[in-house]
Amino acid sequence: MFAFIVSRLLQALPVMFTVSLISFAMFAYVGDPVVIMLGQDFTEAQRQQLIRDLGLDQPFFMQFATFLGNAVQGEFGLSYRLSRPVAELIAERAPATLELAFTAAFIALAVGVPMGVYTGLYRYSWLSRVFLTFSLIGVSLPTFLIGILLILTFSVWLGWLPSFGRGEVTRIGWWTTGFLTWSGIKALVLPAITLGLFQLTLIMRLVRSEMLEVLRTDYIKFARARGLSNRAVHFGHALKNTLVPVITIAGLQLGGIIAFAIVTETVFQWPGMGLLFIQSVGAADIPVMAAYLMLIALVFVTINLVVDLLYYAVDPRLRIGRGRGH
């Protein structure tokens, strides 16, 4: 087990290195931070001084080495745009993104699984058809459009929910939460639905097809033959067996939700890491972009590792396979 973890961690290092190298190479094309920092009026001497100050006169690999050396120590420098430490900025925004992502994932699971079960069991009922049509919308409409439609309906027409921001937040240590105030919860509803809708429909369709698959298997027939109630067959046997792939997908999608919250955060002015990233792109704020991409890579690597470990724990075949010395 320990050897397995170590080997996975070692595999993660080249991934992180490659991500940092590629993202750093891309920054050459996002624009020139110097121009943005100098504003409308400057002298050539000021420009040269700033280029030297930022270390942009160094060759690419020197810049990259400096960046990597600092990054390993957790030092990402000062944001060009906000003149504040990058690590502090990201730590400030992380709670907003994480609360949004986990709420979205929760909604996706809590609504998607029952809908999937229902449509799997009652394939021809009119409600199943409604659900399936709805899921088609969720899959095909782009996120920003869903967000705008929700804002139009629930903020502008009905006036029930706020159209932007996080509402009142409560500070607990360095963490800020919107769960403890009414306005914070209200502010969370629309963005969480927008962000979770795609995953919701994905999970629903996955559960449905798995249910259809499982209901045809022999052990379900045996279970029915033993005279078990419908309820025990559907939930005790069928659903339980569909959940393995669902958990895998949901786990992997969580990384996606965190990383791709960018669009939702932009639409709802949600003060999370994605919004920070978009604003940094506009200002060619290289330290923030680099740190964000590294962090997202780390999130994906970690989630993959956890999923692998879960497999290892859940599926005895993997363990036996190792024991035989593959």
Binding site: G31, Q40, L78, I151, F164, R166, V267, F268
Partner: protein, 528 residues
């Protein structure tokens, strides 16, 4: 019963102490958040729109952008290179420090630091000297007739506060830690900063002790200002429609019709001091992005005129700008000192004449050219360029459009890596010299000359006129500006388009003067 009476008495007492002061909160929004709260670090509209509520300059602007006393009561040019400022007495900073001449000297020195972005407003200043506690002399290296105009943009900080917080210079990029002034302020102004959460919200509360409330013109009644940036256009409009914000500084043009018709809202329109024009490479022997070999068509004034006359500016005004622009034939709008109406004339739209001019210049079959444009800097910049590219192509100048975000556009043109480009130029000093010097002076002769002249236009006559603008005063100076404007029209160094109009959208119960510098002044905002 007794308790009730007591409460009533207390309420009446409070009412009597503060007559007419009720809590009036204004929630407003725009797309960008200020990068910093440091008054001398970033010369950006988004920073100034918050800081000018908190800090006072020596000289204030009135709603027509004219000058009026701020922290200075009066000012005079005692000698050609020495201005004397008499300061207001009894003013205190928000944290209690008394305001004196020493703070003025400190602030001007701070704005002169190499890490300051406010160099243009103090570029001629050699030093500031405190004569006594409430008199300051400012010595300039050359005579500077427009110094008061420039000082209206320099905010005054407290020396002792800045020294205490280790902030005697604007942020240096080499530093690793954050400076105190990035998120804290201490001004003398009408509002004080009470909450600052970057990119989330910035809350200002009324400074009841502000000296300016004695001035009748400052009749604003707002007690709290909550600023929350909303980057997405659609969301910002939705927040205004749903009543979550009261005032939007930059409503998107495509939503104006809807906002005008929405009950309880109104749209305030006015001109901005920003002029859009095309500038082109008139320096190289051969253009970088063209199929003409061995010569540069833009060096021929007839070609420049041809492109000018090929533009149907009324069509752009009507369909792309939806009427929200002021068509122009000159370099800056009328709010800028030196504007001459007689020189604000366009060459007429005439495609046939354009073709004839091209043929005359030796290009009967036209030529090919790439037009560089930003797509997120000015109002409808990309659409304007698309339309103009089509118009030029129609007269034979086959135009490829290269539209890009500002973070790549500006570095590109600043390397002179362009043949023709769109630029929108604002005039923060509100004086003609700033535009002529930055855009049309031969580059590199003196500081600030031609720093935005990426077509490398160079005309000895223009340079001579600019030198006169720098040093002469009074009627002689105005004459030099007039002549330069005439030359601008004859020599066609740029193809002017229009001055931008800027709409502000707000609740109908808000009254605020529309400002051509696109800055809201909350000291004048009245909420009913």
């Amino acid at each position: 019963m007794r308790r009730w009476l007591l409460a009533a008495a207390l309420a009446v007492a409070c009412w009597a102490i503060a007559p007419g002061v009720e809590a009036r909160t204004v929630r407003w929004s725009a797309s960008g958040d200020p990068n910093t709260m440091d008054p001398h670090s970033q010369n950006l509209g988004t920073v100034t729109m918050v800081l000018q509520q908190i800090y006072d300059p020596l000289i204030h602007r009135n709603p027509q952008l004219g000058l009026e006393p701020g922290l200075a009561l009066s000012w005079r040019q005692e000698e050609p290179t020495r201005w004397r400022f008499v300061l207001r007495q009894g003013v205190r900073f928000h944290e209690g420090e008394p305001f004196t001449a020493d703070d003025v000297v400190f602030s001007i020195t701070r704005a002169l630091a190499p890490t300051s972005n406010f160099g243009i407003f103090v570029d001629t200043i050699e030093r500031a000297v405190a004569v006594d506690d409430f008199t300051v002399d400012i010595v300039t290296r050359v005579p500077d007739p427009i110094l008061p105009n420039k000082l209206a943009s320099v905010f005054i900080m407290s020396r002792s506060w800045s020294e205490r917080h280790n902030a005697t210079r604007p942020q240096n990029t080499r530093q690793r830690e954050e400076m105190h002034t990035v998120r804290n302020t201490n001004g003398t102004g009408a509002f004080r900063l009470s909450v600052r959460e970057p990119d989330v919200r910035t809350v200002l509360t009324r400074n009841a002790e502000w000296w300016g409330w004695q001035v009748p013109a400052n009749r604003g009644n707002v007690t709290e200002i909550v600023y929350r940036p909303i980057a997405s256009d659609a969301t910002r409009v939705a927040a205004l429609l749903s009543g979550e914000v009261d005032f939007v500084l930059d409503p998107p043009l495509q939503d104006l019709a809807r906002l005008r018709n929405a009950p309880g809202l109104r749209v305030l329109e006015g001109p901005e001091v920003r002029t859009l024009f095309f500038a082109m490479d008139v320096h190289r022997e051969e253009l970088l992005y063209s199929d003409v070999r061995g010569r540069n068509p833009f060096r021929d004034v007839r070609v420049r005129q041809a492109l000018y006359q090929a533009i149907d500016i009324q069509a752009i005004h009507r369909t792309i700008m939806r009427g929200q622009s002021v068509v122009t034939g000159t370099l800056f709008p009328e709010q800028v000192n030196g504007y001459v109406r007689e020189e604000d004339l366009r060459l007429p739209y005439d495609p046939a004449r354009a073709r004839a001019l091209l043929a005359e210049a030796g290009y009967p079959n036209g030529f090919e050219i790439t037009l560089d444009c930003s797509n997120n800097r000015y109002i409808n910049d990309e659409q304007i360029c698309q339309a103009v590219a089509a118009m030029w192509t129609r007269v034979g100048v086959r135009t490829r459009l290269n539209a890009m975000p500002l973070s790549t556009f500006f570095p590109k043109i600043q390397r002179d890596d362009t043949s023709i480009y769109l630029l929108g130029w604002g005039v923060p000093t509100l004086d003609a010299l700033y535009s002529f010097q930055s855009l049309l002076a031969t580059r590199g002769t003196a500081q600030g000359d031609g720093i935005w002249n990426f077509g490398r236009y160079s005309n000895p006559r223009m340079d001579a006129l600019i030198e006169r603008m720098k040093t002469e005063t009074g009627e002689a100076r105005q004459a030099a500006i007039r002549e330069a404007l005439r030359l601008y029209r004859e020599d066609v160094p740029h193809i002017p388009l229009h001055h931008q109009m800027i709409p502000w959208a707000m609740r109908a119960n808000i009254q605020v003067p529309h400002m051509a510098n696109n800055q809201p002044y909350f000291r004048w905002m009245v909420v009913n």
